[in-house]
């Protein structure tokens, strides 16, 4: 179903607003049928990038192509794209059916085609029979489904999703994530998603581009980015991470917390080691690990599937976060606040990252 006619490429895109550089030398390629997320905090340039692909903003320099066609200077209505907005942006003065048919009507489709397509799309988004309702009569989730149907009915070459689930509550957000992802894969449609929600990015994307300061810091598959962050920023923005800065000496990293074994040889004579909280081992199992750290649990919080612990290391006072899967009897947590524990992690579970730990 996929062919190269929907490959989206951005080449050396740069966009400034006055003195502010919103996007800087950005390169990105989205393969046909793939969903790529632009993930980052607000102000990282992800929305500006999406708006340039949509045609609402034009880059100062660089090129945007879809299937080899240059889109850079084309107005939005000539690009043949579909877009789903965070605020749904359904036309409040038109019915659900008229909203979905809008794109078909603009391209001059016959009344019969419009009616058939509206029905087909409503079936697809599980809203059959709601043609004549107005958007305000639907729930948020239903409105978002209509918005999705309205964007997809015109067979867009690329689907743009601008924080599409930001206005929904958590439970609904998760089910809509699956629904949108399933539909996108079934239709084999190329999609670009903008989000600041790392869970959303990880559960929906083939690839994630983590953005910061107008640049893509790292591009890769979700598990790759999560397990192999290249920078301290990516390590902490995607999930949680314990970061240790230090000097490299005799193959060890000399940090405030102590001398830590390294998973690989760092390039320079200083380095930052990142260890995910779920990779940290607490208690007896940690005694045999090479770090030989000990600490006291200062806070524990039960999170259902796991428990989160704050551990203050003896001597250095460094704070470490550790997640532990429930392995005790139901209704119990194995470690209490105040407990003295051994702390460690398998050396290969640490990752060397560049850049200092970002200040919160």
């Amino acid at each position: 179903m996929t062919d190269t006619s929907s490959t989206l490429t951005l080449t050396a895109i740069r966009k400034t607003f006055g003195p502010l550089t919103a996007v800087d030398s950005l390169d990105l390629s989205v393969e046909p049928g793939a969903l790529v997320s632009l993930l980052g905090p607000s102000g990282c340039g992800k929305t500006t990038t999406l708006r340039m692909v949509a045609g609402f903003d034009s880059p100062d320099s660089g090129q945007i192509t879809i299937g080899g066609d240059d889109m850079t200077r084309l107005p939005p209505n000539k690009r043949g794209l579909g877009m789903v907005f965070q605020s749904y942006s359904l036309f409040p003065h038109r019915t659900v059916g008229e909203n979905i048919a809008f794109g078909l009507r603009m391209s001059g489709a016959s009344k019969q085609v419009q009616a058939d397509e509206v029905k087909r799309m409503l079936d697809m988004v599980h809203l059959s029979g709601r043609e004549d309702m107005y958007p305000a009569q639907l729930s948020g989730g239903q409105q978002q489904r209509v918005a999705l149907a309205r964007a997809l009915v015109v067979n867009p070459r690329v689907l743009l999703l601008d924080e599409p689930l930001g206005a929904l509550d958590k439970g609904l957000r998760e089910s809509m994530q699956f629904e949108i992802r399933e539909m996108q894969q079934r239709l084999g449609i190329t999609a670009l998603l903008v989000t600041h929600d790392q869970e959303e990015a990880m559960s929906m994307s083939d690839q994630i581009a983590v953005m910061h300061g107008g640049r893509i810091l790292q591009l890769g598959a979700p598990n790759d980015i999560y397990d192999r962050p290249e920078t301290a920023f990516v390590a902490t923005f995607l999930g949680n991470a314990n970061l240790f800065d230090g000097r490299v000496q005799d193959g060890l990293l000399m940090t405030d917390a102590g001398a830590l074994s390294l998973p690989a040889r760092p390039a320079g004579d200083t380095a930052t080691l990142s260890v995910r909280p779920e990779r940290v081992v607490l208690g007896e199992d940690a005694a045999a690990l090479p770090q030989g750290l000990r600490g006291r649990i200062t806070a524990a919080s039960f999170r259902g599937a796991y428990a989160a612990y704050h551990v203050t290391l003896d001597g250095s006072g460094t704070e470490i976060i550790a997640y532990r899967q429930a392995d005790t009897a139901l209704g119990q947590t194995s470690l209490g606040v105040g407990a003295e524990v051994a702390v460690g992690w398998p050396v290969e579970h640490g990752v060397l990252v560049t850049g200092p730990a970002p200040k919160e």
């Binding site: 609402f56 209505n77 579909g82 942006s89 809008f102 391209s107 964007a151």
Partner: protein, 279 residues
């Protein structure tokens, strides 16, 4: 220590409202009631004869029609001018929008009489406009007669009333989510199509409110027509004549009550529009 009086919330509210209510009652409600009562009282007590006479007389019906048609024309022109201005104000003016609003509202701070005299000065036979056209630019051989033409009276009314229409339309346009327009563009609509499919329908309420406001004020306008003429014979002018020249107070009261009813009908329409907006 000052002595404190404990009042119930209801009493306190009544006390706070009292000055305004008394003022309105004495200077607004009582004259209105007195005036319309005059139109219903004949020699033999209560009568509707003045209304039946008035509303069956073709001359007076013609005056009502002329009043309404003039107001409608002024309304149409005002809205047509106001919409683009409101659009620029909301969408394009950016940091200059404050300045633009100032220029819109500033004329309202000047008395309408002064503004109308201004039109007289500009457009008199030996006024500034004629001087430009004839002497300075040499476009015309002889000065044009502007005063007492319908066009100038309408122009002056439009000039006074456009700000009301602009502000009504702008406030609604401000509330239109631009993402809706972007959504239409993404679906292949051109900018012009987007305006007619999305922007205009969503600002109909603002146009309605502005139009009713302009219509109502134009309907009761008096000074402009007295000073600039234009050959119009409208209800307010006729009322003025009856009070001052013919001194037929009863007929004048009848006409002002009819004018009031037209105004109330407009107000009712406006409230209905606002209520629909609120849903």
């Amino acid at each position: 220590m000052t002595p404190t009086v404990n009042l119930s919330p209801g009493a306190r509210r009544a006390l706070l409202l009292a000055p305004a209510l008394i003022f309105l009652a004495v200077f607004f409600v009582m004259p209105l009631v007195d005036n319309s009562a005059r139109s219903f009282i004949g020699e033999g007590g209560f009568t509707l004869s003045r209304y039946t006479d008035f509303l069956t007389d073709s001359f007076y019906l013609g005056v009502i029609a002329e009043t309404v048609i003039l107001s409608a024309a002024v309304t149409l022109i005002s809205v047509l001018i106001a919409y683009p201005v409101a659009y620029v104000l909301v969408r394009k003016a950016g940091r200059f929008s404050g300045l633009m609003i100032f220029f819109l509202i500033a004329p309202l701070l000047t008395s309408i009489i002064m503004r109308t005299f201004g039109w007289q000065v500009l457009f008199a036979r030996r006024g500034l406009v004629n001087q430009w056209l004839v002497t300075d630019l040499g476009l015309l051989d002889a000065p044009l007669r502007w005063l007492n033409t319908p066009g100038l009276a309408i122009a002056a009314l439009v000039h006074v009333l456009v700000p009301f229409a602009v502000l009504s339309i702008a406030s609604v346009l401000q509330g239109v989510d631009r993402r809706l327009e972007e959504g239409a563009l993404m679906l292949g609509a051109s900018r012009i199509r987007t305006f007619f499919e999305v922007t205009l329908p969503l600002t109909v309420d603002g146009i309605g409110t502005g139009a009713i406001l302009v219509f109502m004020i134009a309907n009761g306008s008096f000074v402009t027509l007295v000073l600039l003429g234009g050959g119009f014979q409208t209800l307010p002018l006729l009322i003025y004549q009856q009070f001052n020249t013919t001194r037929d107070f009863a007929l004048a009261s009848t006409m002002s009550t009819i004018l009031l009813v037209i105004a109330l009908a407009c107000l009712w329409l406006q409230l209905r529009l606002l209520r629909r907006q609120g849903v």
